[in-house]
């Protein structure tokens, strides 16, 4: 939503504070060459073993990157947590709706967990409860099960993130490669377009879209099964808006990478051997876009999840009876002084997810391009 990560960031060299007794300065360039080579070829025990393994079977850069990623403990923990949430969102409701015995409600008669453990069922005399055996994470002010709502919210977040990314990646690669490879008017148009998108704060655009077309979406798009029903119609609209705002940045990254690749010798080699442009694009350029697309997509996913939560928080996204993390937050606002748990739960979960994604994204970037660290 907001293009915080527009600039590739690098961290700096080791440097010392000016307070030390011997006045510091830069390393003599001659020695720097030597020392740096030494540093670069430092091999720990593990690396030595790997090197020996590698020498038997040359690894592709992809495998190298994955190996580096696997060694990044922080990133691995984070992807684990994200994985947990994904599984929770997908399989949680299925399991949860079969856990628990029959419950006699004054308003709805005797019902089983497949009713009272859904995200939309209201049990009006069980409002604002804390965690219990029946309602694992408590209930909100309409007597709805918080765990169920949380899982549904997670499902929404994940689905949107994936949907937006699919569009983002497709459009981004398509336009980016065309702009980078052929240049010309496509490139110009992309540049102008990107300028406009950047100038328009993402949120504003989405508010505009959701505000003006929201109701229309509610009436016309609710018909679409699964996606549109249950208050999610606006969300479809919002997803499209988010994808629309996201792909120019991806296209920019792809274009940049394509330009770089285009100048490299293997492309020239392919060209001289008579490979057609399309073939070059498909076989040489696109596979090499992998790392930058993956990193950019991961980072964009965080933005999407935050954006969806934000939009729903403002009342422009998922509507009741649907559930979204943002919606849960806004609906719990009145209860902050009496039942802070209702707002802390979704906010906390969102915070964890965002942090995990951020750390993982950092780790991913470092794994694919360790040079960007120094």
């Amino acid at each position: 939503m907001d293009t915080k990560d527009k600039n590739q960031e690098i961290t700096g060299h080791e440097y010392m504070s000016p307070d030390s007794p011997v006045s510091p300065l830069l390393i003599d360039p001659d020695i720097a060459v030597l020392a740096e080579n030494e540093l670069a070829t430092t091999l720990s025990e593990n690396e030595l073993k790997e090197l020996q393994e590698k020498q038997q079977k040359p690894a592709t850069p992809l495998q190298d990157s994955l190996r580096r990623l696997r060694r990044d403990k922080r990133a691995m923990v984070c992807i684990g947590i994200i994985g947990f949430f994904v599984l929770l969102a997908i399989f949680g409701p299925l399991i949860y709706q079969h856990v628990g015995g029959p419950y006699t409600s004054p308003t709805s008669g005797t019902i089983g967990p497949q009713v009272y453990h859904t995200y939309y069922h209201q049990e009006l005399d069980r409002q604002d409860e804390g965690p219990s055996a029946q309602y694992w994470l408590g209930t909100d002010s309409l007597g709805r099960d918080l765990l169920a709502r949380l899982m549904q919210g997670l499902l929404i977040s994940i689905s949107i993130a994936v949907l937006v990314e699919v569009v983002d990646i497709t459009m981004g690669i398509l336009i980016g490669v065309l702009a980078g490879f052929h240049g010309g008017w496509i490139d110009q148009v992309l540049a102008r377009f990107t300028d406009i998108i950047f100038a328009f704060p993402g949120l504003l655009f989405i508010i505009l879209v959701a505000g003006i077309f929201g109701e229309w979406a509610d009436t016309n798009l609710s018909g679409i099964p699964v996606i549109g029903a249950n208050g999610n119609a606006r969300l479809l609209l919002v997803s499209l808006a988010l994808a629309f705002v996201a792909w120019p940045l991806m296209a920019r990254y792809v274009r940049g990478q394509t330009l770089q690749l285009k100048e490299q010798q293997f492309v020239e080699a392919a060209r001289t051997s008579g490979t057609s442009d399309t073939q070059i694009t498909l076989r040489h350029i696109i596979p090499n876009l992998f790392s930058i697309v993956v990193v950019a997509a991961t980072l964009n996913m965080v933005n999407t999840i935050v954006a969806e939560a934000g939009i729903s928080l403002l009342g422009l996204g998922v509507q009741t009876p649907g559930s979204s993390i943002g919606l849960m937050i806004s609906q719990a606002q009145n209860m902050v002084s009496s039942h802070p748990w209702e707002i802390l739960l979704p906010a906390g979960v969102l915070a964890i997810i965002v942090l995990c994604f951020s750390f993982f994204g950092d780790g991913l970037r470092d794994a694919f391009d360790p040079r960007s660290k120094d």
Partner: protein, 319 residues
């Protein structure tokens, strides 16, 4: 330098036109018939035609667009759909000083806190100070504004409950006035907004500073016998802040976004809040007006940061 600025200015005009066009198009194709909706059950063809004329909705597309554009220069955004016969500008103008105040102080705080953190981290790179700083900063950088707001609210409310204090979590006090009660209202949202931005600035400052400290001319400054403080704050910092200035322009977009959320969250009567209410009532002109105003503000902000950039980096003057 003048050439550079002119080029940028033209580019920005193009962007503004693009933005206004998109906004206008959306309003034009907005579903529903606002005049009908306004009339409710009192539908009368004659009045309908009159109203349509008053709102200029009976003109062809480009005429409407032209009116829209020219109106912008006069701050005439048309009439509100919700409050009939009330100009949109009238509705928005009270909120503008408030939103600006929030954004302004957040920006000031962001600079006053973010840059020093970045510098300290760079000077003590890779020590525990740096790692802690950057760790905290990464967390702040990742979390969305409204999550901060939630934690803040919960925190304040629990203190209120516990001690019986009355620190407010809603409303704004008087715009641009700073009595103690005014400050109480304002400090929370401002600090929250600033914190979410500080991270961004601190990271950039740190990176830039580290990059500059590696440069040869820093070594030359030391070789000249300049004292360490002079080397860092005069020679290095001056160069390190150059990219930071451009980045500040970019944080405007973040400020605008953040303001929307915070106004909603804390019930602050700025233009964000007004616009959000307008979305509920399908008051498109208001939404359009805000979109244009804010986009233009961001664009102007970028232009200012570009100008600052040319002032600060002498190499650009010659370009």
């Amino acid at each position: 330098m003048v050439q550079f600025l002119i080029k940028r200015f033209i580019g920005l005009i193009f962007v503004v036109i693009g933005v206004t066009f998109i906004t206008f198009v959306m309003g034009y194709f907005a579903p529903g018939d606002p005049i009908r909706a306004m009339m409710g059950s009192h539908y009368d063809p004659v009045v309908y035609a009159q109203l349509k004329h008053t709102y200029g909705l009976d003109q062809p597309f480009f005429v409407q667009y032209w009116h829209f554009l020219t109106g912008l220069f006069r701050l005439d955004f048309g009439l509100s759909f919700q409050y009939q016969n009330r100009p949109v500008w009238d509705i928005l103008k009270d909120g503008i000083p408030i939103s600006t105040e929030l954004g302004f102080w957040a920006l000031v705080l962001e600079v006053l806190v973010g840059i020093p953190i970045g510098i300290i981290s760079a000077l003590k790179a890779n020590t525990w100070i740096d790692t802690t700083n950057m760790g905290i900063v990464l967390v702040m950088y990742s979390l969305p504004v409204f999550v901060f707001a939630v934690f803040f609210q919960v925190f304040v409310v629990s203190i209120d409950n516990g001690t019986g204090a009355q620190w407010p979590v809603a409303n704004w006090g008087n715009a641009w006035h700073y009595s103690w009660s005014d400050i109480q209202f304002k400090i929370g949202p401002i600090v929250i907004l600033a914190l979410s931005l500080v991270a961004y600035l601190a990271r950039i400052t740190r990176t830039s500073m580290l990059e500059v400290l590696r440069q040869d001319f820093v070594r030359t400054a030391r070789a000249k016998g300049m004292r360490e403080r002079v080397v860092i704050y005069r020679h290095a910092l001056r160069n390190a802040l150059i990219p930071v200035v451009t980045i500040l322009g970019l944080s405007l977009g973040l400020i605008v976004t953040g303001t929307f959320f915070l106004e909603d969250f804390f019930n602050i009567p700025g233009i964000g809040e007004t616009t959000l209410q307008a979305t509920q009532y399908r008051d498109y002109p208001v939404i359009q007006a805000t979109a244009v105003l804010l986009a233009v503000a961001v664009v102007i902000g970028n232009l200012i940061s570009d100008i600052l950039y040319t002032l600060v980096d002498p190499r650009i003057k010659a370009a």
